[in-house]
């Protein structure tokens, strides 16, 4: 960035990387499964921001079409993930990720 006042593509990429990092911290450190799923949505949004920023830089619409597909996939994954969460809650009466430890030795 040659200056902080002229907003270039790199500004959007840095913002996307910061959001990605926040999402990764949320996935790795939180205990509530719902908040882990919301951090995954943060990660997907950071990727979308990267895609649309590059689409603007190169001039074609391919990045925006890809971003629309990512939003569609995020909707499908959120629905299935929340269904799994409901089934998990019905079994164990808790929403802790620490309780999912059947494979622990």
């Amino acid at each position: 960035m040659e200056s902080l006042l002229h907003i270039s593509t790199l500004h959007y990429l840095v913002l996307g990387a910061a959001l990605f990092l926040l999402g990764v911290i949320g996935v790795l450190t939180r205990r509530n499964v719902v908040i882990v799923l919301m951090s995954i949505e943060l990660i997907l949004n950071a990727v979308n921001l990267n895609l649309v920023a590059f689409s603007r830089m190169w001039g074609g619409m391919h990045g925006q079409v890809f971003a629309i597909f990512v939003i569609t996939d995020a909707a499908a994954e959120a629905a299935v993930g929340l269904g799994i969460l409901i089934a998990f809650f019905r079994n164990k009466e808790t929403v802790n990720v620490d309780e999912v430890n059947l494979l622990k030795w």
């Binding site: 959007y12 450190t29 629905a79």
Partner: protein
Amino acid sequence: MAPVATPFFFYLFAAIMLIGGILVITRRNPVHSAVALIVTLLAQASIYLMLYAPFVAGVQIILYAGGIMVLFLFVIMLVSIDRSLRERQFNSQWLIGLIAALALGGLFIAVYLKGKNIFPERPLSIMESDNTQRVATLLYGQYMFAFEIASLLLLVAIIGAVVMAKRRI
């Protein structure tokens, strides 16, 4: 021409997004996290508008903030018990996770310092006013196969979510 974003609006929406992201990962109450995520998604739709992508901004508001987050709020109300609000909120491997995330952050900083002069600022010749038409031409032309696969994926997701959440299969 570079994205014609006045720096004030970019920094304002970037600050809203980052503060919303920090609130998502640090709030104890999941409803507060969901509301912070809605604010983050709406600020991101504004940044899409600054990137001259009005169709993606509309899809983001309608689908993400208006569909996925409402689904999250419903499920939070179904599974949120008062006991979980008083327990610890970081899981048992939070230290390793934080170290791994900071290593990823270090990798990002290294990539930025090495490659920050790599992007050319090419002058774009058109200021498109037909963004939706161009997206639709690509979506129904070159990416028609992916479009059909996405609709199949949504069908599978609907069936899967209903089966996972039913009480008796």
